[in-house]
């Protein structure tokens, strides 16, 4: 559990970037964080592994306060972080050496480091690339490599700052799929993103604006509030907006829908109702 209690943060002599944030993150959570540029998303997540320290309030990672320098190595082991530009987080001269950087910093014996590197590369599917220099990898593979680096440290939480911003759709899909799998295995995921289509797999959505946490709840519910999202300059997923517009025009469809499959299902059942208003109940049971 990561507990954020009344967190405020400001750079010296400047307006506060974060204002009174309270938040609990459980180990199995998959949280997406959205918000316009400058809303404090990146500043917030940098508090989760003590890259930044609170000006007021406290951040506790599994009970360890980030303000205590003695806790730093353990906090950074527990909370892994992936940045937007994969090139600037790779330090090794080969794929496997980069994965070994984290466990090496923990001072593990060479045998254990070797074992963890092999396991992590296996998990992200980069075993065949292990002796390649990192600059020969594609953008998506570099992000997978960064995730392997975190996995090798046996982290409980993975924090990602727009990891898919510069990826092609196929790599994007691969990275999201891996995150889903890791979350299923019990790793907490905190995913900052601008891409609304990335949110669908999250079970919890945080919306930030002007340094405040303005909404916290199930992703589908929040995304369906199309008007309030637009008010702070965010665009909901296309499908959700479509359903919202249909609903506004008077069609009897639900608006808390984020995937194409759900939308097809919903529109189809509406069509059936319209075609045969009397016995749609019977038809629907046949359909199932």
């Amino acid at each position: 559990m990561i507990c954020i209690q009344n967190l405020s943060f400001s750079y010296p002599d400047q307006e506060p970037v974060l204002k009174n944030i309270d938040l609990n993150i459980a180990e199995g959570d998959y949280i997406a964080v959205i918000g316009p540029n400058g809303s404090g998303k990146t500043t917030l997540i940098k508090h989760l592994n003590a890259l930044l320290l609170p000006s007021a309030g406290e951040v506790l990672v599994d009970g360890l306060s980030t303000s205590n320098p003695k806790n730093l190595p353990e906090i950074r082991r527990r909370v892994g972080m992936i940045f937007q530009n994969p090139d600037n987080q790779i330090v090794g001269m080969s794929v496997e050496e980069d994965v070994a950087f984290g466990p090496g910093n923990l001072g593990l014996p060479p045998k254990e480091v070797r074992k963890r590197v092999d396991e992590a590369l296996e998990k992200v599917g980069l075993t065949n690339y292990k002796s390649r220099p990192p600059y020969t990898l594609s953008g998506g593979q570099k992000q997978l490599l960064a995730i392997a680096g975190v996995l090798a440290m046996d982290s409980r939480y993975i924090v990602l700052d727009e990891p898919t911003a510069s990826l092609d759709p196929q790599s994007n899909y691969k990275v999201l799929n891996l995150l889903k799998k890791l979350n299923y295995e019990g790793i907490g995921i905190i995913h900052v993103t601008h891409n609304m289509d990335d949110l669908i797999i999250a079970n919890r959505l945080l919306v930030m604006d002007q340094g405040k946490l303005i909404t916290d709840g199930p992703a589908a519910d929040i995304l369906s509030q199309v008007e309030s999202l637009k008010a702070i300059g965010l665009t909901p997923p296309k499908v959700t907006e479509l359903m919202y517009c249909l609903n506004q025009r008077g069609a009897a469809v639900a608006t808390n829908i984020c995937t194409v499959e759900e939308a097809v299902e919903e529109i189809n059942s509406l069509l059936i109702k319209l075609q045969n208003p009397v016995d749609h109940n019977r038809r629907e049971t046949e359909h199932v």
Partner: protein
């Protein structure tokens, strides 16, 4: 991307040596090369050829590491020819070319060729990670003067790691400037200097931002003052001791004679 002198992944006896052994040997050889005369240099050349073959390095790619430095060799040769005093062989106006000059020119260039070929065997048979690991251990005593060999090795390793990234970035910047009608084919020193600033200023600005992110990433991955470990550990085998003693003794001999 083709890199002369880049690591070749082979299974050879030279690859298997401890990187520290190879680094010490290279230093010993370099000292000998600076001391010896032409006969000695020929012997060293043969020795290097044997070593490169033992390391399964193809002769052609080995010699190709000299390619980028050829203009320097020519420059060095000319300097020695024109500046060494001695019995004039050819006189063109005030310039004297002497026997001694030609001899000095050839031996000096030969020396530099051998130095580079020696270093190439090291870099082609040792991965950069091994080299930094070896350096870290060899430099361990610098902690007496308050430096950390771990940090030095990390710096070297990061520098090597970012060379290809920076080349790529340089090309991006060049393309961006070209697409804005910047002309890189200007003649004359002034134009050339201006071109360099068009490339290096954005590169430098980007570098600082990159460093900032890199520091964050390294801290996030737990880099700190404590001792680090690697995937493998270095251990001297008996063969390492033999090689170090032979080469160090050889160098000692060169220094005395």
């Amino acid at each position: 991307m083709y890199n002369p002198g880049y690591y070749l992944d082979r299974q050879s006896p030279v690859h298997k040596l401890d990187p520290r052994t190879k680094i010490i040997t290279v230093i010993a050889l370099s000292i000998s090369i600076m001391q010896l005369d032409h006969t000695g240099l020929l012997i060293i050349a043969l020795l290097l050829l044997t070593c490169s073959q033992a390391a399964h390095i193809p002769v052609v790619s080995w010699l190709k590491t000299l390619q980028p430095i050829l203009p320097f060799f020519l420059f060095l040769f000319l300097i020695y020819i024109f500046t060494t005093p001695g019995d004039p062989l050819i006189t063109i106006g005030p310039i004297n070319i002497s026997d001694q000059g030609i001899y000095m020119g050839f031996t000096q260039v030969f020396r530099f060729i051998l130095l580079i070929l020696t270093a190439s065997i090291l870099t082609m048979s040792t991965s950069s990670a091994e080299i930094t690991m070896g350096l870290e251990r060899l430099l361990h005593p610098v902690k007496i003067i308050g430096l950390s060999s771990q940090d030095i090795a990390m710096m070297v390793s990061l520098a090597l790691r970012f060379v290809p990234t920076l080349i790529e970035e340089m090309n991006h910047i060049k393309e961006a400037q070209l697409s804005r009608n910047c002309n890189f084919n200007t003649r004359g020193i002034r134009g050339k200097i201006r071109n360099v600033t068009y490339l290096s200023l954005p590169l430098a600005v980007n570098l600082f931002r990159r460093c900032d992110e890199l520091v964050n990433a390294m801290e996030a991955r737990g880099y700190n003052k404590g001792p680090r470990t690697y995937m493998r550990d270095l251990a001297f085998a008996p063969i390492d001791f033999c090689i170090i003693s032979i080469f160090v003794a050889g160098t000692g001999l060169c220094l005395i004679l």
